[in-house]
């Protein structure tokens, strides 16, 4: 089996995880910028983090034969500080020149505040200015439904963003249909407790047209599983889905979306 991990926070993971993912059939990893679990005090912290994402982590992944790509932003959990957000946004254009950067992400909302909305609008404008794809983080738990709707309204209000170049991640049963109906891609994040389990994810896959859906582990420093995508593939297999349907979901779909960036190379085409 082959698969793409389109959303993994590998800076939080050990090299053992790279090894396990490679053994499980992972062919490439994409890493959006995210919250470190604490608030960084200055843009210097983000400068170092962006260097880590664009320079160090691709080298670490390469030791396991894995291409590593990244997305850049200041995450919504740190967007309440508008001055910090402005400083970090000013850093991003320099790093967009790095050969493994795919776009702006994971941007979005956390608690659906006015400041978060303003920084989201600034990120969207930056993506439009530099013709970048967008990866969206939707809020957690009780804030997700409202936040997902606010984010989609914000994207549409921009007027230039093409929905097919935006993936809205962390969808669940109460948001996936709206996201797909509005032309965006939808990401299902597989977590042991929050978001969706592999079993629920495949239930969702069986209830929608899955042409614009990907699965990801979003593995990070919290309770998460870097092998959850192959585990979801296994769930499909034991339900009787064909090998072709599984490959289309866990490999073909992410390759199709990510290949909208000329920097992403289909691993199968490189073999």
């Amino acid at each position: 089996m082959r698969y793409i991990e389109p959303h993994g926070h590998m800076v939080s993971r050990t090299t053992d995880d790279y090894q396990a993912m490679a053994l499980a059939g992972c062919a490439a990893i994409c890493e959006p910028a995210f919250w470190a679990g604490f608030d960084r005090k200055s843009a210097d912290g983000f400068y170092d983090y962006f260097c880590q994402l664009t320079q160090h982590e691709p080298k670490r992944a390469a030791k396991y034969g894995l291409p590593h790509y990244s997305w850049l932003c200041i995450n919504p959990k740190e967007s309440e500080d508008m001055a910090l957000a402005a400083d970090v946004l000013a850093l991003i254009p320099e790093f967009l020149k790095a050969p493994t950067v795919l776009g702006i992400g994971e941007i979005g909302l956390n608690k659906n505040t006015r400041n978060e909305m303003k920084v989201l609008e600034q990120h969207i404008a930056l993506a439009v200015q530099y013709d970048q794809m967008i990866l969206v983080h939707t809020p957690h738990l009780e804030d997700k439904r409202k936040g997902t709707r606010l984010i989609m309204d914000c994207l549409k209000a921009n007027g230039v963003v093409k929905p097919e170049r935006v993936i809205i991640d962390h969808v669940e049963e109460h948001t996936i249909h709206e996201v797909l109906d509005q032309g965006f891609w939808a990401g299902i994040t597989l977590y042991p407790e929050s978001k969706a389990t592999p079993v629920r994810a495949i239930d969702m896959i069986e209830s929608v047209s899955a042409q614009r859906v990907w699965l990801n582990s979003a593995c990070d420093w919290g309770h998460s599983d870097p092998l959850s995508v192959p585990k979801a593939a296994q769930e499909m297999r034991r339900r009787g889905h064909s090998a072709a349907a599984i490959d289309r979901l866990v490999y073909g779909n992410p390759v199709k979306f990510l290949s909208q960036s000329p920097r992403f190379k289909d691993p199968a085409a490189q073999a």
Binding site: R114, N115, L141, R145, R239
Partner: protein, 100 residues
């Protein structure tokens, strides 16, 4: 019981086959939930909004139409539509605190 609605892309399967695959998983989760409610009964203090939300969701499990997960998630969701002025926490609790 509702009429099965086959979805595009889903292999045909019987309810017995679904039970063969997933019954034990559902069984232990239901027992874990029962044990959690018993544990709450043995503890002191009032009921917090998360547990209130969980109890409010239980009748939805017995509804006949498909879509129970979405209905429960919607029940627990913040129903407001405007951004808030400022957050007093970064974390979400799992159930909108205003749920009655």
């Amino acid at each position: 019981m509702s009429t099965p609605q086959p979805h595009p892309g889903a292999p045909d399967r019987t309810r017995e086959q679904v039970a063969d695959l997933h019954f034990m998983d559902a069984r232990y989760k239901l027992l874990d939930l029962a044990a959690f409610l018993d544990r709450l009964d043995r503890a002191a203090g009032g009921e917090d909004h998360r547990v209130r939300g969980l109890r409010a969701a239980l009748p939805l499990l017995l509804e006949k139409d498909e879509g129970r997960v979405a209905r429960i998630l919607t029940l627990w969701s913040d129903p407001s539509v405007e951004p808030i002025a400022k957050a007093d926490t970064k974390a979400a609790s799992g159930v909108w605190p205003g749920l009655k």
